[in-house]
């Protein structure tokens, strides 16, 4: 009651943006397209931008997009980031499923729990990439994957914050 009284009155005519439903998916595609940036990395320590934005949306809302959109979004990510085609399709669909199951089990959520869930999923992502690289190229020490893993986990809160801002903007709040 007090909080509602403290917030400024909403202006008339302010509300969800007309194409608000498509904004989450478009931001994920844009994050995948960050791969076109002219950065030449010799170590590969950059995070998987598409997956971070995907996770941020899904942890913020239960239904940022219809569940089956995960597959086409993953396909776009695979195309632009040079992952083997099918990797992000399967991983992102499985993520939707896993997070639905987690949503049923958890009694309460806070920032720390969301960060831990995201960290576990990012670790699974990096581990799968390592297994795939091994399958395609030959044995690699997992120690190569630790720096990008730490970088991804550390930047996740920044992505989650940015996505919450985008969400507020698209809903006209």
């Amino acid at each position: 009651m007090v909080r509602a009284a403290l917030t400024p009155p909403r202006r008339i005519g302010q509300g969800p943006w007309r194409l608000a439903r498509y904004v989450p998916a478009v931001t994920v595609v844009f994050a995948s397209l960050l791969a076109v940036l002219p950065i030449v990395s010799t170590s590969g320590w950059y995070p998987d931008f598409g997956y971070l934005v995907f996770l941020s949306w899904r942890l913020l809302r239960a239904d940022p997009w219809p569940a089956w959109w995960a597959a086409p979004l993953g396909f776009v990510n695979d195309l632009f980031t040079a992952y083997p085609i099918g990797f992000s399709i399967a991983l992102w669909s499985a993520t939707m499923l896993a997070l639905d199951l987690i949503d049923r089990r958890t009694m309460w959520r806070d920032y720390w729990i969301e960060w831990v869930v995201a960290a576990v999923l990012i670790a699974i992502d990096e581990w799968l990439q390592w297994r795939l690289a091994e399958a395609a190229a030959g044995p690699l020490p997992f120690s190569h994957m630790v720096p990008p893993l730490i970088v991804s986990i550390c930047v996740f809160p920044a992505f989650a914050w940015a996505i919450s801002r985008v969400d507020a903007w698209r809903l006209g709040r």
């Binding site: 002219p38 590969g44 569940a67 995960a70 099918g86 639905d100 690289a133």
Partner: protein, 290 residues
């Protein structure tokens, strides 16, 4: 598909069930295409090429912009201390000229020796010259994006070098851009030799920007920090006598080396035809990236 039970509405319950099925189908489709792209990487070559054609030109133009901006700053920086730099450069130039004369004499001598031995001289030709404009970001694999594609004559399997040294080989080509498997990728094995004493070695990438070099013969570790590794031309894909890497650290029987052509800083990358064209027909032994 957020809640366990969306109320008594039959329609909502069916909607939930079908979205669940759709996600399962997504996982299955993903797994099948993943297996396909690992087992038969050529399956998605056209789609990947099309994606490269969409992103390649964007990356190239962004690269140009950044390079221009950098050029303005470093250009301004060069005016500081110009007199001393000029003197230094003149002195270096003189030394270089002397070395060049020596090299020319050696070249002449080489030609004569080759003529007496009746060795076949390989034509060094260039297919296309491009720039390295991007790379894989988050992956244990090391790919780079090159700003020339199959419309310039680039084909899968061709070696790529730069003035500094070996860069890698083409593993995917769109019409306007292509993807290079860098020397530092795990799947890239370059037959090479030590420049100092000609001992044959194999250079294999380690996936983190460095290269693992190991001698073909077992025995004492032949490497010294600072050794230069040059390609040997064995296998017929990579041309011989192109610098590959510089040894920085010894490790057991092997050595860790840094590629001489740093893809982040090379100005131009030159696509060459395979050294022995027959090597193209059999194809490289390693899988074509993914």
């Amino acid at each position: 598909m957020a809640t366990a039970r969306p109320g008594w509405s039959r329609r909502a319950q069916y909607g939930l069930f079908f979205s669940f099925l759709a996600v399962i189908a997504g996982i299955i489709v993903g797994l099948i295409s993943l297996i396909l792209s690992l087992v038969a990487p050529q399956t998605f070559q056209t789609v990947r090429g099309a994606a490269l054609d969409v992103t390649g030109p964007i990356t190239s133009s962004l690269h140009e912009i950044i390079e221009t901006a950098e050029g303005v700053f470093t250009g301004a920086g060069n005016y500081w201390d110009a007199a001393r730099q000029n003197a230094d450069l003149k002195r270096q130039n003189k030394a270089m000229l002397r070395r060049m004369l020596e090299a020319r004499a050696i070249f002449q001598e080489n030609l004569q020796l080759k003529a007496t031995l009746q060795l076949r001289q390989h034509e060094r030709s260039t297919i296309a010259v491009g720039r390295i404009v991007g790379s894989s970001f988050d992956s244990p694999r090391r790919f780079a994006i090159l700003s020339v594609g199959s419309s310039d004559g680039v084909r899968i399997g061709m070696p790529v070098r730069s003035p500094d040294g070996m860069v890698g080989r083409i593993i995917g080509a769109g019409a306007l851009a292509s993807r290079v498997l860098l020397v530092s990728d795990k799947a890239n094995i370059v037959p090479a030799r030590l420049l100092r004493n000609g001992i044959p070695v194999l250079a294999q990438g380690r996936g983190d920007g460095t290269v693992d070099v190991r001698p073909l013969e077992v025995g004492r570790n032949p490497f010294k920090p600072g050794d230069i590794i040059v390609s040997s031309g064995t296998g017929g894909l990579y041309p011989p006598s192109v610098p590959v890497a510089r040894v920085v650290k010894l490790q057991g029987d092997d050595a860790i080396a840094l590629p001489l052509a740093d893809p982040a800083t090379v100005s131009f990358a030159i696509v060459e035809p395979p050294y022995e064209p027959a090597a193209m027909d059999t194809g490289p032994a390693t899988p074509e990236g993914y």
